[in-house]
Subunit: 200 residues, 2 copies
Amino acid sequence: MADHNALPLVILAEQFAKLPGIGMKTAQRLAYYVMSMSESDVQAFADAILQAKHRVHNCAICQNLTEQEVCPICGDDRRDHSIICVVESPKDVTAFERTGEYNGTYHVLHGLISPLDGVSPDDLEIRSLLARLQSEPVTEVIMATNPTVEGEATAMYIARLLKPMGVKVSRLAFGLPIGGILEYADEVTLYKALENRNEI
Amino acid sequence: MADHNALPLVILAEQFAKLPGIGMKTAQRLAYYVMSMSESDVQAFADAILQAKHRVHNCAICQNLTEQEVCPICGDDRRDHSIICVVESPKDVTAFERTGEYNGTYHVLHGLISPLDGVSPDDLEIRSLLARLQSEPVTEVIMATNPTVEGEATAMYIARLLKPMGVKVSRLAFGLPIGGILEYADEVTLYKALENRNEI
């Protein structure tokens, strides 16, 4: 924004521009839009940002984002705690829950192994997954990372760690288009991929 | 977001989805992104929103958004205060300032006359424009609203009010493509439109 603009507006536009997929032009439009919102709506927006950051943290068991000590899925006795579906990020949990067909638990890695980006296995929630296998009666671990180079490598790495522990390790069926993004798969494709999972 | 998600995350996604051009899917991605931001970055983001709303208001003279009582353009003695460029919104001021070719002042209407949307002339900053003509030595008013139905109607309405006051009223040259949006015009087109303005 040019220097005739009010500084708080320029700062707000710069903040919006930091968000993924939001360029400077869109950021400016959003900043102007905030100016047209009511006082209480603006307060609610700012509160929502702070509350989400302050009140939400990782589940002590599956590492998914939650407000409680243990997330609703891990705390649900009706779910099958002998199956763990390992995913890259919390939004993948949302994608599987949308199918309505999976009744096991999850484990969120919060990333994928990617040496080029400096992400090593130690940066992911792998140790907490191994700990679960020792404390819970787990019979199967489903590797549900994206069908990309990093997703495949991470699935293989974890599978090799788990095999000696005597647990069945399976991989999502490749009904998913290779190179695609799990989050955008439709419910039926995702359910088929889950149903046809193969042992690695 | 499904009900297994933490409530503060759902609330934040709903807040993002209220912004123009941001759908529920993008809103969810942004909410997850906020979770991955550092504590201080999140605080800075929330502060920027509140500060913009609290510290920025309309200039007492031209009604453009500013932090001060009078905006930097209205308060600049080197600018030509005998010419007023009337625009729909603050972002149009930014567009003209980018040309670097206009040295007069502005007047921001904060909307266009649109009976279908229930916007009447009384809802716009037209009264404050008429007041300026009485207190400032204005010789020309340039109607620089968008070349759309509402923009044309608003320009014509204001021109008819101003003519009896003995001031020259001009309209941007139609170098601008009809039906287009002023904000997205390139600098040269906008400068040409300004240069070839015609008396209405």
